[in-house]
């Protein structure tokens, strides 16, 4: 393959990755549930795009598979499933986080800095897209923060999924050819099944507790 192509690919990846980061921050401050879901879909789309770029740059066909799977699964199927769930158990759209918007912005910023600090000494990965590792870690940490900061079950699931996006970003961009195919597919289906299971649980919880507020689930202690 020709160096310039790699160059462009790498810049592209960096760009897309940073977009993912932006979306993540939007997620952190956005308070409408459905919008959250859509944002997640968008983020996944970017992820797919990155996958496509990597696949093109290295002509590795199985990374295309990953891209396709991501589009099918995370861009269309999961958001659709989640929105349906939201509609089924008509929960109000408003998300009331524990930490208010400015504070959460600050925290996310701090986490980003931390991620860069952590990723700095690792030099052996400057193959494709600079700083993708940092972005991945940021996605992970901010996703984690979202998970803590959200009250409702579904939003926590969403946060978990964004974390998963970060992981996939690392999987695609850091490892020259993506993971071995079997692993990719396995992970993908695991995620899908996980969301199914979560859906089932959310549904059952809804009908037993007549509420989606996870912070009400505190009967078991000590």
């Amino acid at each position: 393959m020709n160096p310039p192509a790699v160059q462009t690919a790498s810049t592209l990846i960096t760009l897309l990755a940073s977009f993912m980061l932006v979306l993540q921050l939007l997620l952190a401050v956005q308070t409408m549930l459905v919008t959250n879901i859509r944002l997640f879909a968008l983020q996944s789309l970017l992820l797919a795009a990155i996958a496509a770029v990597v696949a093109y740059a290295y002509g590795a066909w199985h990374v295309y598979v990953v891209a396709v799977l991501t589009i099918i699964g995370k861009v269309f199927f999961l958001p659709w499933r989640l929105e349906r769930l939201v509609r089924q158990i008509k929960i109000e759209q408003e998300i009331r986080p524990f930490v208010n918007m400015p504070a959460s912005m600050l925290i996310c910023g701090a986490l980003t800095v931390l991620a860069y600090v952590v990723a700095r000494p690792i030099t052996s990965l400057e193959r494709l897209g600079s700083n993708t590792l940092a972005v991945a870690i940021t996605l992970l940490l901010t996703g984690f923060f979202l998970m803590i900061n959200r009250r409702k079950a579904i939003t926590q699931v969403l946060a978990l999924l964004t974390m998963e996006n970060g992981v996939m970003l690392a999987a695609i961009a850091l490892t020259t050819y993506g993971m071995p195919l079997v692993v990719e597919i396995g992970i993908f289906f695991d995620v899908v099944i996980a969301v199914m299971v979560l859906g089932i649980l959310v549904f059952r919880i809804r009908e037993t507790f007549a509420s989606m507020d996870v912070s009400k689930l505190n009967q078991l202690k000590w």
């Binding site: 052996s124 993971m179 996980a194 299971v197 649980l201 919880i205």
Partner: protein, 492 residues
Amino acid sequence: MLLTFILGVPLAAGLLCLFARPRRLVEILNLGGFAIVLMLGIKLFHTVLAVPGSARTECGEFLRADALSAWMVLLISAVSLATSLYAVSYFRRDLAGGVVSERRWREFYVLTPLFATGMLLVVLANNLGVMWIAVEATALSSVLLVALYNRQNSLEAAWKYVMLGGLGLVLALFGTILTYAAAIVPPRSEMASFNWSSLQAMAPHIDQHLMTLAFIFVLVGYGTKAGLAPMHTWLPDAHSEAPSPTSAMLSGVSLKIALYALLRFHILTSACLGSGLSCHLLLGFGLFSMLLAGPFILMQKNLKRMLAYSSLEHVGLICAAVGMNAPLTVFGAMLHMGCHALTKPVLFFAAGNIHQQYHTLEFRRIGSGLAGAMPATALLLGLAAVAVCGLPPFGLFVSELTVIAGGFTSQQSWVSVVILASLIVVFCGVLNKFSGMLLGPGKGGAPRETISISNVAAMGLPLGALLFFTVRLPDSLWQLMNQAAGIIRGSP
């Protein structure tokens, strides 16, 4: 084809249970399946032992079994067998009492073999990615098992389990990927293999920073699944709210499976960075878990939660023992895994019987004088408690003392002292609660328990086995554990 069979048999059993109509057939499918797995497991460890230090691979290096995996296979199959044996009488009573519906009952018999298959795949997978997938699979199957009773509490427990477990697994996945990324050393730019065998071979050349980062994520991730404090918070909920057979499997093996996954990375890391970092982290988390378990057990109000916390303590002990990284301690850890796997299920089974008798697990409501009301259960519970407190003549005494002695020989006396102290604290709690529950005057007019042979067998056989192996440990088993310990200490 041995490994394939070991994986295939329970999978097949599980799937068949979907369609098999008559209840008895379903039960027999489970029992038979696990019995076969156990036999295969025994055959496996003999074949592994045949050539010391060797590993058996199948399906083009996709499956791989060395001494460590073989040891784990033995534990998994033994516990699953006991569980399925106990489940028969347990769920018959539940069905009779209308506690579970036919559908949920079938759910259990389908999911349990899948759960077991997942665990077997964890220990047999050669590819670390596949190992992660398998762990995730065990998590998902066990979540539904935890939520089986569909009560408020069990749903809450399941929710916490799946959220925290899922989170941990995402972190673990990240760590895994980082490891993979680290394993791609620039000169070779073609598709790297993600197989354990090759990784271990190239460990010394791995980028150290990246490996450290990876190990941290893996530690937190799999640590959550293995219930190391402070990531253990889901453990008491899930283990106490699940149906007793599931609790037995969760406490008996599933924790150790997550630990196994963690240990694989520990081996890699110490091969790459030297044993310093990972050992110290393991030691720290292990000791913290042990120390944290004490107060909760002292103040515990609920039988199964107490058992769960005792599992936390034992996992902590194993972890710390590996962290001490002396020949004696690591061997002790292996031994301890075995003994604990044989003991803890019995305790949970007995707890299940008590729950079905009194419809509560609160010590206060159960009251006293169990020895009179349910003699068989009380006796076995008492024996198992003696065992789990690390008193002779049961094996945990040997394993714990081995670990502690190892600490003294490797100039880590203070660790051993801490371990001793926390063991004593835990003992005080358990003794206090159990003597209050088992002894004393029985409640007037409480119905005497009706207990089936299979039930007693399910509790008695593991204890018998433990006692037997304590008095007479076959040389082959000793070899196996020794080699497993060797693998963990990085001698291929």
